[in-house]
Amino acid sequence: MTLRLTNTAKTYPDGTRALMPTELTVDTGEVVSLLGPSGCGKTTLLRIIAGLETPDPGGEIWFDDDNVTAQPVERRNVGMVFQSYALFPNMSVRANIGYGLKMQKLPKPEIEARVTEVLEMCQLEKFSHRSIAALSGGQRQRVALARAIAPRPRLLLLDEPLSALDAALREALRDELAILLHKFQITAIFVTHDQDEAMAIADRVAVMSDGSVVQSGTPEELYRNPTSAFVAGFVGNAMHLKGTSDGKSLTLTGGVLPLDRDGAGQDIFVRAEDVQIDPSGPLQGQVETVTFLGTHYRVGIKGIMPDIVTSIFPGQNAPRTGEVVKVSIKPETLMLLPKSGVGK
């Protein structure tokens, strides 16, 4: 199913604009992630699509050729996985998963068959007769997903489905969820504040800030070609190199960096993996911190610009704290973005 939102905004009764007028199209079978910090309007957008919030007049929501704007949530046929899972404590795992099918008034044998099928898909057969209280966090998450998917919804919506889990489990379930979503071949929208989660699961990521979608694209596009300082900072933690640029070079406290493009009037960003410790580099600074992270070291260098510049050092012999090092940055790895007052 193709989802199309036009001019959809949300203003709360107290005047807060949670969502600026937004256009969004999600194609059949696509898994889209809404990524942004808390309070950016991503959950509001998801709830509007579900029908749990009413958009401001003027907005329209289309499921294929169906205008569902005025339809209540129970008639939209969407599946939703809530942050807290919202599993019914008065029902067993089986009954939870079968509830949506019961609401569709399917005959009993068919409900049984479909619940069994979904239980198998989500590897929950062993727990089918348990009560919700007797499940672990990861199992609950799978039941919530199974319950949402069982009625074969037109659209699957997931609101921070992994945030209630502890860190180790979150990473394991992230990949599992990505596999399941693609196995279902369902159009899905996934809300998260965690860029790793968005990148791992989604075909396309829409980055949101202050109530609007600032950039939307594949994870690679967002990472390599951010169009704003916000996206560069939020996706992949790019650093803003604070100095003065005059067309051909960027002057920093720790030296002068050549540019291959005209950098005048632009903010210049770089990612830690593109900052190389190199004895012939044009920049000079002093090592402030060295963190060993298994596959590499993260080195914090002061003196290049007012903030610390972080470099990823993949080798064996990392510099020591206090050491003076030379640093080079390839001009093509620099990201030149329009100046914005708010950049991270």
């Binding site: 129970e74 599946g79 809530f82 807290s84 599993l87």
Partner: protein, 263 residues
């Protein structure tokens, strides 16, 4: 156990307190099954007085049971939606409403009854019917039902549960039936038992509202104390016990269960 003087003292106090509570009860019950109380137990045991009570007051017993059931149905019909509404819309207005519903708890039953008599006393048909007493009972027991359900509902994330059901295609009524009511059940059960127990045992208010043709169980009890021989009055107490004690025990069990869930 008897190692120290403190322990012995504790035991003595406990046993004395128990005796203080139990001896009158046992004496009263014994009086109800003794052939002639003034001759003592030597006159032999009999169930004569219990049957006598049944002859004289079975109407009161049935009226009380009927009132309790009617009161339970009324408080459920009013209290369940009320508690649901209060739980779904928390805020200062709900707080005030909740306090308002609870007001009859603080006002003595006599004052409540007087107010009802002042307001409706002139409506002869209503004044003389059992529904008049029912209104008093509902006023008095409603806060117990509402609070009991509300405490269970407030302990869960009702809004999200309902939203979950809604995304699965459940209409507002189906959500109420399938999600709200089953999850509120421990509160409903505890509230129901409290309401029935209170309604059967209520005296203050009922005594003011009753007519000679409408005596409830406790009003009949007062009547038998005032005008019957001691054995009949005692047998009445026995009957009252048999009705109310199992209810009280069930209530204890149910409210303990509801509290465990509300935590």
């Amino acid at each position: 156990m008897f190692r120290s003087k403190t322990k012995i003292l504790q035991l003595t106090v406990t046993l004395t307190a128990c005796a203080f509570l139990l001896v009158p009860t046992i004496l009263s019950v014994l009086a109800g099954v003794t052939a002639n109380y003034f001759q003592g137990i030597s006159s032999g045991f009999t169930l004569k007085w219990v049957f006598r009570v049944w002859e004289l007051y079975s109407g009161s017993i049935f009226l009380s049971l009927w009132l309790a059931i009617a009161c339970l149905i009324s408080t459920l019909v009013i209290g369940l939606p009320a508690a649901y509404g209060l739980a779904r819309h928390p805020g200062w207005l709900s707080r005030i409403l909740e306090e308002f519903i609870s007001l009859p708890l603080a006002v003595p039953g006599l004052a409540l009854a007087l107010a009802l008599l002042q307001l409706y006393g002139s409506l002869k048909g209503f004044r003389a019917s059992w529904t008049f007493i029912l209104v008093g009972h509902v006023l008095y027991t409603l806060p117990f039902m509402v609070r009991s359900i509300l405490s269970v509902l407030a302990a869960m994330d009702l809004r999200t549960l309902e939203e979950g059901a809604a995304t699965l295609g459940a209409s507002p009524w189906q959500r109420f039936r399938d999600i709200v009511v089953p999850n509120a059940m421990p509160g409903i059960l505890a509230g129901a038992l409290t309401v029935v127990t209170l309604s059967i045992g209520e005296f203050n208010l009922t005594w003011m509202l009753h007519t000679p043709y409408l005596k409830t169980l406790p009003v009949g009890l007062a009547d038998s104390y005032a005008s019957m021989r001691l054995e009949v009055a005692s047998a009445y107490t026995l009957v009252f016990f048999v009705l109310i004690v199992p209810l009280l025990m069930a209530m204890q069990w149910a409210s303990a269960r509801a509290q465990r869930i509300a935590q």
